[in-house]
Assembly symmetry: C2
Homo-oligomer: 178 residues x 2
Amino acid sequence: MAKNSFPLPKVYGLLEPGPVVLVTTAGKDGANIMTQSWHTMIEFEPPLVGCVISNRNHSFDILKATKECVINIPTVELAEKVVGCGNTSGRNIDKFKHFGLTPVAASCVQAPLIDECYASLECKVVDGKMVTRYNFFILEVLKAWIDPSMKHPRTIHHLGKGAFMVAGKTIKLPSRMK
Amino acid sequence: MAKNSFPLPKVYGLLEPGPVVLVTTAGKDGANIMTQSWHTMIEFEPPLVGCVISNRNHSFDILKATKECVINIPTVELAEKVVGCGNTSGRNIDKFKHFGLTPVAASCVQAPLIDECYASLECKVVDGKMVTRYNFFILEVLKAWIDPSMKHPRTIHHLGKGAFMVAGKTIKLPSRMK
């Protein structure tokens, strides 16, 4: 999927609606993918993202060691692979191979982008003080990529236990909010 | 709107999809409402929510002083009022009166529920260590309420600058994820 560089001050608009994301990391035993929904914007610019990665997950150890990851945003077409990545562990399988996802080299971090996702955010950990207590990492987005042809991405939003809300129509109201 | 008590272990399913919320607080000059999208689940049980409330907002001072708030979840029918609450400040107006929203007494906190919202989460601040640096509050949900008749709430999800994605259809996939 051909992607353009995406302006960092606009990144909040990608994560603020709360999509399920696929977090990629690259450890010494290869790259991994983790399905994740517990994230929030923390700051507009530079864009900071707060993200819970449980210490029960393989990705936790890699992220803690490498301090780098990529947040990839899938659309509904990838829903089965998203759930597949959530049901399995990178300790046992290579999720890229197993689910037929394509790693693409990032520009600022070792972790790969997922080619099939419509947007990808290259991140580094900038604050790990909340990791021990809450598994909560503060990430700075260093570089963002987006498929410019995707005008209305049908992102998926986890409602629990495999139920997902699929992004519906967009409305516009006169707002002074950023 | 008649609401039932909602089990705390299920609260994550309300916030995980990333809806815009209306955070209510009660200060010495009365109750206030703030439109907010920067929140994430932090823990399932007891449910912990991380929430950015900017120190530029009137609600910041009240939340910091009282350590209590309610997270109310609106649906698309309230979109204009949601934007209105985001465009105005509680320093100048009584938002409940101005936007015709109805405060209802909560059971565990002084901040009111918003009757017109389909779900409300009574919260207290349990960790303020990230407030100075990130305006980030860790809240514990003490009590949750939901309108049991609302099977497919059309929540709204902020895309930036007054554009909102409206919750679309729900899909279900075989998942082992909580």
